[in-house]
């Protein structure tokens, strides 16, 4: 029975899959999303169709068996951009089904350690991106920001920005995973949509002025006698700098226009 399983790549899909295998204590050989992967030639693939009713039932059971912080670990690990995270969650839950809530403290267990460490990475990146998002005011009447995080953190940062900037239309575009959050200030709702990048945003004059002010302010703020570029680089890795106003010259070159692709 420990064959290969395929689901649609959504969290609900994974929960449906888990609802199938956990009661039978099956540890799959692998869990895939893409049906065309080469390994699938050599093993039989069980395809799981997402079933909303089953998802709700299973989620209720999960929250009963585990503490809220363990459920959060699972959600954050799922959002990690790492292959094999589904199996990691599987192993964790198989153990959880045996030991119950005690699993929260079993930090050194080989089935538990990888999961909380991954969850911690995702949580850390979520926190950093609450600071690293830079909005640009566009002539289209909304504030646009492009980011390129390692993990799929959009759904984790959305509530923060929705609460903070509830009086402006804004878009945060994840260029790495080709999706974005769109916030509508009238309805006060956010939505995650697939997004492509092709156009530079059309910036307002005020935007360019504030960017210039910010760059000059940022440069002034450094105390040259205390210069420590190594420390700066550990705090602001080079890979995030193209998206930060204070580390790039002039506006617009990295921008893109929101364009739902489906």
């Amino acid at each position: 029975m420990s064959g290969m399983y395929r689901y649609d790549g959504t969290f609900a899909g994974l929960l449906t899959l888990l609802a199938h295998i956990l009661p039978n204590r099956i540890l799959p050989y692998s869990i895939i999303v893409d049906p065309l992967l080469q390994q699938s030639l050599f093993a039989e693939v069980t395809t799981i169709e997402t079933d909303q009713e089953q998802v709700e039932e299973f989620w209720a059971e999960l929250t009963k068996r585990l503490t809220p912080s363990c459920c959060n670990h699972i959600m954050r690990a799922f959002l990690a951009d790492q292959t094999g995270r589904e199996l990691m969650i599987c192993r964790y839950l198989l153990l959880a089904w045996e030991v119950g809530k005690k699993i929260g403290g079993m930090l050194a267990n080989p089935h538990v350690t990888p999961l909380w460490k991954l969850s911690q990475q995702v949580g850390g990146e979520t926190h950093r991106y609450k600071g690293f998002v830079r909005f640009q005011e566009t002539r289209g009447g909304f504030f646009y920001s492009a980011i390129s995080p390692d993990h799929r953190i959009l759904s984790l940062i959305a509530p923060h920005f929705a609460a903070r900037f509830s009086d402006q239309h804004w878009v945060i575009h994840d260029m790495h995973h080709d999706e974005g959050i769109v916030f509508d200030r009238h309805r006060r709702k956010w939505l995650i949509l697939p997004m492509e990048s092709n156009h530079e945003p059309d910036l307002t004059p005020a935007e360019e002025r504030f960017q210039a002010l910010w760059r000059s302010y940022f440069t002034t703020l450094a105390i040259s006698e205390r210069e420590n570029l190594r420390l700066q680089r550990s705090k602001v890795p080079l890979k995030v700098r193209p998206w930060l106003v204070e580390f790039s010259q002039g506006g617009g070159e990295y921008g893109a226009q929101m364009m739902p692709s489906s």
Partner: protein, 432 residues
């Protein structure tokens, strides 16, 4: 465009004047966005880091760099030949909102030189902040400086608008203050600190009775000390901090290494590694606030200064080897916290994990506990991983040797020794 350039100039000059204030925290307050813009996250958020590795969280700005005082350590002192400018309250508010909307900053840190009189200056600050809170309905974080000598009613008003208020002590002893800041009295600085503390206590009581009472400085108050401009020992400084935390319930004491570029005749020629000293003081400060240490444990008459090549906790442990090694499966949380190399998070994880079974050395590594220093001070299931005798000088050699590959922290300054001239230039803006 003339207006824009004007603002650009002012922003540059006033940021230049404010940047030496070490306070950067945006944590400790929680403010909801009620139908305006912004909120305050209780964890605090850093938005960027400048090339000196310090974080940018708040828009750190002076209202003006005009000052009637002549404090020797301050760039904005009256006798310094500087271009003097001033922002209007409306300009401060506009800049703050413009930056905040773009998510450059977490809020505003507004300080100032003293123009005309303390009361007049304090009123300017309050005008800027109330414009933000009332006209722009800004609910983000605001850190407001109190001007020494300002009327107590104004202090109260400031605390109702800001999340955190602060007044910088700057010099640890009244004697140093008299020497370097002859226009200020110790009482003018400590008086408002005491008043703020009383108001916070009263406000807490009132809010317990009714939640509708507006909050007074929900993120408390902080202060800053300049280190190395005068001859105080670390023991004097750490003891002072301890008193500030215990008696005045301060949230933070910041330490700012005084960096002499050209010596003032009033300033002593001091240590060659001011940043290392600053770093050790911050470590000692953390031990006071989060690790249950008291000042007299870290420093006494025999050792009035913190050791340069070893952190204060390790130094303490080496003086008290009779308490070590501790068994991680049995030791209380408070005891674990005192093991060098084990921090709050590691200690919490150990306590949580050992409930589910005894921990070995390998398990510690899995929990993310760094063993570089800790290995010499603990046992796991009775096994001592240090691999050498528990002997003070031997351990010290091993620990100091292991510190050469420290990452990220810069402890030395690439400075030549200051030359004594008549010119007075200093790098610390202790504008208040």
């Amino acid at each position: 465009m003339a207006v824009a350039t004007d603002i650009m100039d002012k922003l540059e000059i006033l940021a230049e004047g404010a940047k030496y204030d070490a306070s950067c925290a945006s944590s400790g307050s929680f403010r909801r966005n009620c139908d305006g813009i912004g909120n305050a996250a209780s964890c605090g958020i850093c938005h960027s880091w400048t090339s000196d590795g310090r974080c940018v969280s708040l828009l750190k700005l002076l209202m003006t760099n005009i000052c009637i005082y002549d404090c020797a350590y301050c760039v904005n002192r009256r006798s310094n030949d500087l271009r003097r400018v001033m922002l209007t309250p409306a300009e401060v508010a506009e800049l703050t909102i413009g930056f905040y909307r773009r998510n450059y900053i977490e809020g505003l840190f507004l300080s100032t030189g003293v123009v005309r009189s303390p009361d007049y200056t304090m009123e300017l600050l309050i005008a800027a902040v109330s414009s933000l809170r009332q006209e722009y309905r800004f609910n983000g974080y605001i850190h407001l400086k109190l001007v020494p000598g300002a009327d107590s009613l104004l202090v109260q008003k400031a605390g109702l608008l800001a999340d955190r208020v602060s007044i910088n002590l700057e010099l640890p002893t009244p004697e140093s203050l008299a020497l370097l800041a002859p226009d200020k009295s110790r009482e003018a600085v400590v008086g408002p600190m005491r008043q703020v503390n009383n108001l916070i206590v009263i406000n807490r009581e009132e809010r317990r009775a009714s939640r509708s009472v507006p909050r007074f400085a929900p993120a408390g108050q902080s202060t800053q000390l300049i280190v190395g401009a005068t001859n105080e020992s670390d023991r004097q400084i750490v003891t002072l901090s301890e008193q500030l935390y215990r008696r005045l319930d301060l949230k933070r004491v910041y330490y700012s290494a005084y960096i002499p570029v050209v010596a003032d005749t009033r300033l002593p020629v001091r240590s060659t590694s001011p940043l290392r000293r600053e770093h050790r003081l911050y470590q000692a400060d953390w031990l006071l606030r989060y690790y249950g240490f008291s000042a007299h444990e870290l420093l006494d008459e025999k050792t009035p200064n913190l050791e340069v090549d070893i952190d204060p906790k390790t130094g303490w442990a080496l003086r008290h080897l009779e308490l070590f090694p501790v068994e991680i499966n049995l030791a209380d949380y408070e005891v674990l916290l005192r093991v060098p190399g084990i921090g709050v998070r590691s200690a919490q994880r150990i306590v949580r994990a050992r409930r589910q079974g005894h921990l070995g050395i390998d398990d510690l590594a899995k929990l993310g506990v760094v063993l570089k220093r800790a290995r010499y001070f603990l046992t796991a299931r009775g096994r001592y991983p240090g691999g050498c005798a528990m002997e003070s000088s031997l351990l010290r050699r091993k620990l100091v040797g292991g510190q050469s590959q420290q990452g990220g922290i810069q402890l030395e300054l690439p400075l030549s020794q200051p030359q004594a001239t008549d010119e007075r230039i200093s790098l610390i803006a202790g504008e208040l």
